[in-house]
C-alpha cells in the first residue's frame, strides 16, 4: 500500500531550505529522516516543491485559459512537497509521519494513493 505524506510549510520554512549541509539543523533533520526511510525499505519517492510564489495556476473558463500568479494564499501553510512511502497500514504511516521533521514545525497530511485509479489510468487498452 502506498501512502503520500503531504508536507505543509510556512513561508519561513521555505526560506530556511536555502541553507544546506548536514550541520544545518533543518537540512540535517530532513536528510536524516530521508535516510531512515530508505534504510527501512519503505521509500517510494520524494518531491520537494519550490516555494508557492513560483507557482502558476491555470483554469479554463469559457474555453479561455485563466492564468493566475501563484496558488491561493488562503492559508499560512502551503504544500511544500510530498513523499511516497510503501507501508502496510495507516498506523505505520502515522508513525512515520510523526517522525517527519515537518510534523514538528508544520503539518503532514497522509493520503493513501488511489491505486485503483492509477491502474485504470495506466492500463493500455481502455474500452471506448
Amino acid at each position: 500500500m502506498q501512502y503520500a505524506l503531504l508536507i505543509y510549510e510556512t513561508p519561513a520554512d521555505f526560506t530556511r531550505r536555502q541553507q544546506a549541509g548536514d550541520n544545518v539543523p533543518h537540512f540535517g533533520a530532513w536528510r536524516a529522516y530521508y535516510k531512515a526511510v530508505v534504510e527501512a525499505g519503505i521509500y517510494a519517492g520524494v518531491k520537494p516543491l519550490d516555494a508557492p510564489e513560483t507557482g502558476t495556476t491555470v483554469r479554463l473558463r469559457d474555453r479561455k485559459p485563466l492564468v493566475q500568479d501563484g496558488p491561493y494564499a488562503s492559508s499560512k501553510e502551503q504544500l511544500g512537497g510530498f513523499m511516497l512511502l510503501e507501508l502496510p497500514s495507516l498506523d505505520a504511516a502515522l508513525a512515520w509521519a510523526a517522525r517527519c521533521p515537518a510534523a514538528s514545525y508544520g503539518a503532514v497530511e497522509i493520503r493513501p494513493v488511489d491505486s485503483e485509479l492509477q491502474r485504470r489510468l495506466e492500463s493500455e487498452d481502455q474500452p471506448r
Partner: protein, 411 residues
Amino acid sequence: MKTSPDKLTYRAVEAAARQSYGRLVALLSARTRDPAGAEDALADALLAALNTWARDGIPKNPQAWLLTAARNRLLDHARHLEVRDRSASTLEILANELYDTPDPDALPDERLKLLFVCAHPAIAPDMHTPLMLQTVLGLGAVEIGRAFLVSPKTMGQRLARAKTKIRRAWIAFEIPAADQIPQRLEAVLNAIYAAYGSSWEDAAGRDQRAVGLAEEAIWLARVLRDAIPDEPEVRGLLALLLHCEARRPARRAADGRYVPLSEQDPHIWLAPLIDEAERELAVSATHARLGRFQIEAAIQSVHAERAHTGHTDWVAIATFYDELTRLAPSIGAAVARAAAHCEVHGAQTALAMLNQIDAHSVISYQPYWAVRADMLRQLNCVHEAAEAFDRAIGLTDDHAVRAFLLERRRR
C-alpha cells in the same frame, strides 16, 4: 420539565464520573459480561445526572445514584429486547443484587477482573492497553488514538470490535486461578506500562495529554497494587513508573531543550515520588521473587541515588541489565545493557555488545542508533558516528530529542 445544568452540577457530575467510572463499569460488566453495554448505560446515567442533579440537588451518594440509574438503563434495555436465557438470568441477578445493595462501596471492587478481561489472551495484545484506558478510566477513542498514533475512527472501531468479542465470546469476569496469575498478570502489567510509555516519549511538558496518560497509568498500577498486594512484580511496576515520573520536571530545560538523564539536575527530581517508589521496591524485595519490572525499578533506583551521592554506580546498573537481558530479553534491554557497559568497560566492549544484536530488528529502533552514535563518537570513528546520528535523528518523533542529537552530531 428540563432544567439546564449549572456549573456546580457539571463539576459534581464530572467528579463523580472521574472517581467512579471504572468501578461502576467493572461492577456492571462483571455481571453482564458486556463492557460496551455497561459503558453505554453509565453514559446515559451521567447524562441523566446533569439534568436531575441540577433540578433536585446533588445526591448524598453520587456513586450509588449513578449505579442505580445505570442499572435501570440496563434492565430497561434488556426488557425492551426481551432477551432470553443466560442474559435474562444475569439481569435478574443484576436487578436483585444491586437493588439490595445500592451503595457501590459496599460491593466488591471488580476492577481487577475487568483488567484481566482487557488483557485476556483472546484479545489482540495491541488492544489490551486501549481497552483498559477506555473501560477502567473512561478515556475516549480520540484521546487513546492520539496516544497510540492511530486515527480516532480506527481506534473507535477496534475498541468496539474488542468489546463485542468480550460479550459474544462470553469471556469470564474472574480472577485467574493461582497457577495462571503470573502468566496472565504479565499482560496486565505490560498494558499499564505501555500506557505510561505512550506518554513518556512525549514528555515535553507542553503536551498536557501526555502528562495525563502518565498519571492514568500510575493510577492503574495503584489499583492493581491494592487488589493484589502480594505480587512483587506489581509493586515493581509501580516503583518503576514512579521513578520515571519523578524525573519529568528535569527532562526538559526551561527553554524546552531535551536533557539526558546523566545531565539532569537531581535536585529538581520529585522527592516524594522517589520515596514512594523506594517503599514499593522495599516491600517487593521481601517476597524474594525477582522479575522484570523489579529489576527495571532497581536500575532506576540506582540512578535516583545520584541525588544523595552525587555519582552513578554504573557497575551496579550494568549488573542489573545483565540480569534483565537474561530474565526478560528484549531489544530495549540489550541496547540499554550495552550503554551501561559503555560506562564501565568503555566504548570498544560496548560496541561489540551492540553488534551482537540482530541487525534486522534495530533498523527502525531509534535508541539503538543514538547509543551506537555516542559509542562511535567516543572511539573517534567520525564518519560512522555521523551516519549513526543521522539514523537516530531520522527515527525520532520528538522535536527536542531531534535538536539535541543534531547538536551532538555537530560536536
